[in-house]
Amino acid sequence: MNHSGIYLHKVSIAYDRQLVIDDLSGAFEFGTMTAITGPNGAGKSTLIKTIMGELLPDSGKIDLGGISNSTLGYLPQSLTIDRSFPISVIDTVILGTWPRIGPFSGVTSEMEYEATDALSAVGLSGFGRRSICTLSAGQFQRVLFARLLLQDPKIILLDEPFNLIDNRTTQDLLSIIVRWHDEKRTIIIILHDFEQIRAHFPNTLLLARKSIAWGPTENTLSSANLLSAQSIADGWSKEPKLYSKLLEI
């Protein structure tokens, strides 16, 4: 087996009886930083969930290069977390030590220092004792980045981390991602903002259920490729609605 990256071999994934990823092959080399972009419904989140092992590919194979998917760092779209949950900021960050201590071992005072440091690194010093329900969406996203810092993963998957996040936070978190890249971590990130991608991310995968282009960002995001992705997406909206959707009451 190859141990220098995450390899996709002819991966196809169906979701709700519809093909969402069709025959995708390629590699995320270790140490590289890749943006995934594409129209809505292009299968971006599905692809990331499949790499995480949450979904199984219907055909084809994903080779993580000898790394267990439980050691990957993963940040799903934050909308899925209930922010009124009664938990403090520092406790949320300390959850990042899970791979080290598991469900039952105690948290050491050293880990608490680490969590405090991680909070300062994301610009939230002094927020530790606050309840997460007092935070703005941007501040909460910073907390989740602090948790990732404690997880210290070699591979990091981020699903639209800047969606609905203020500009200042986006800039701060972008600089953390760039620092992760400098530390030779592998980063895969779903983004919509082409300017952001061009400015910070050397590699891009343009996805429209299949790979439109995958390589250096300036080649991938050519106007010809973007046009082709868009015209494929326009075709989806003309598809008849799913039979299973009609049954939902």
Partner: protein, 287 residues
């Protein structure tokens, strides 16, 4: 009537009141914290369905054994509740029915079935006792079982606290670090079931879930951290048990409804004066 006659003498003079009090205190200590987690997991409906499944379970056991054997009725209730929890879970996951609809249909079925079976065999008195609770049936053996269930509940909660809370707060993260949340979920369901069964003698099968839900809602009006919420829920459950038993003694009400009404009164007061009650939301709205 002085305070002592009102608050203390019923327990000092009567063994059945003392046993009911011990049983309610133990029940409250376990059910309060469980209720908080049940509420945070948005599982109040599941709890409701499971508590109604106690009735047919106990009734079938009653029919089979032929006499009021506590042990048989407890086993019957536990098995029936678990079956309903699992079936309803499967139905809502595999069909187009949403969770609330599938649980509502399960609990209606359970209630109807339970009432039918009981009316076939016993008198109406027995039916009322199972539905609304009777403290006269609490003997030393029942107290021992309730105490055992509470101890087991608190110890298990302490051990699985972290994964259980995380499974509720951020299940995606729990999956991503390679943990299986299902095992903690099932363990939690089991704790809920045995506490409902522990409560059904005192509270009755219709009211057993009230000892979990109302204290949890009260706690949410007073606190913003989980440990404090669990503590407040336990304290308010125990307090409702104490005053509910007194009301039942002095006024001759059934014990279950009296305890739940006591909890409702604490809830009403908390709504008005609790830091996260109506006062704050009205205050916030005007600013």
């Amino acid at each position: 009537m002085n305070m002592s006659a009102l608050l203390i003498e019923p327990f000092a003079n009567y063994g059945f009141m003392r046993r009911a009090l011990v049983s309610s205190v133990a029940l409250g200590l376990g059910s309060g914290p469980l209720g908080v987690l049940l509420m945070l997991r948005r599982m109040s409906m599941i709890g409701d369905a499971m508590s109604h499944a106690i009735l047919p379970g106990a009734a079938i056991a009653f029919l089979l054994v032929g006499s009021i054997s506590m042990f048989a009725m407890w086993m019957g209730s536990i098995i029936a509740s678990l079956i309903v929890a699992l079936l309803a879970g499967i139905v809502s996951q595999t069909t187009v029915l949403k969770e609330d609809a599938s649980f509502a249909s399960f609990y209606l079925t359970s209630l109807a079935l339970g009432v039918l079976i009981l009316s076939l065999s016993g008198s109406n008195i027995e039916l009322l006792h199972v539905l609304f609770g009777t403290i006269l049936a609490i003997d030393a053996q029942a107290i021992f079982l309730v105490g055992l269930i509470t101890s087991f509940t608190l110890i298990t909660l302490a051990v699985i606290y972290r994964p259980l809370v995380l499974h509720c707060f951020d299940p995606g993260f729990l999956r991503s670090v390679g943990e299986r949340g299902a095992i903690y979920h099932l363990l939690f369901l089991f704790l809920v079931v045995i506490n409902l069964v522990a409560g059904f003698q005192t509270l009755g099968s219709l009211m057993a879930i009230g000892m979990m839900i109302l204290p949890a809602v009260i706690a949410k009006l007073w606190a913003r951290t989980l440990p404090v919420m669990a503590l407040i829920a336990a304290v308010s459950a125990v307090t409702s048990g104490f005053f509910g038993l007194l009301a039942s003694y002095h006024l001759g009400f059934a014990s279950g409804p009296s305890i739940i009404i006591s909890a409702s009164l604490i809830y009403a007061v908390s709504l008005i004066i609790g830091p996260y009650g109506t006062r704050t939301s009205i205050y916030n709205r005007s600013h």
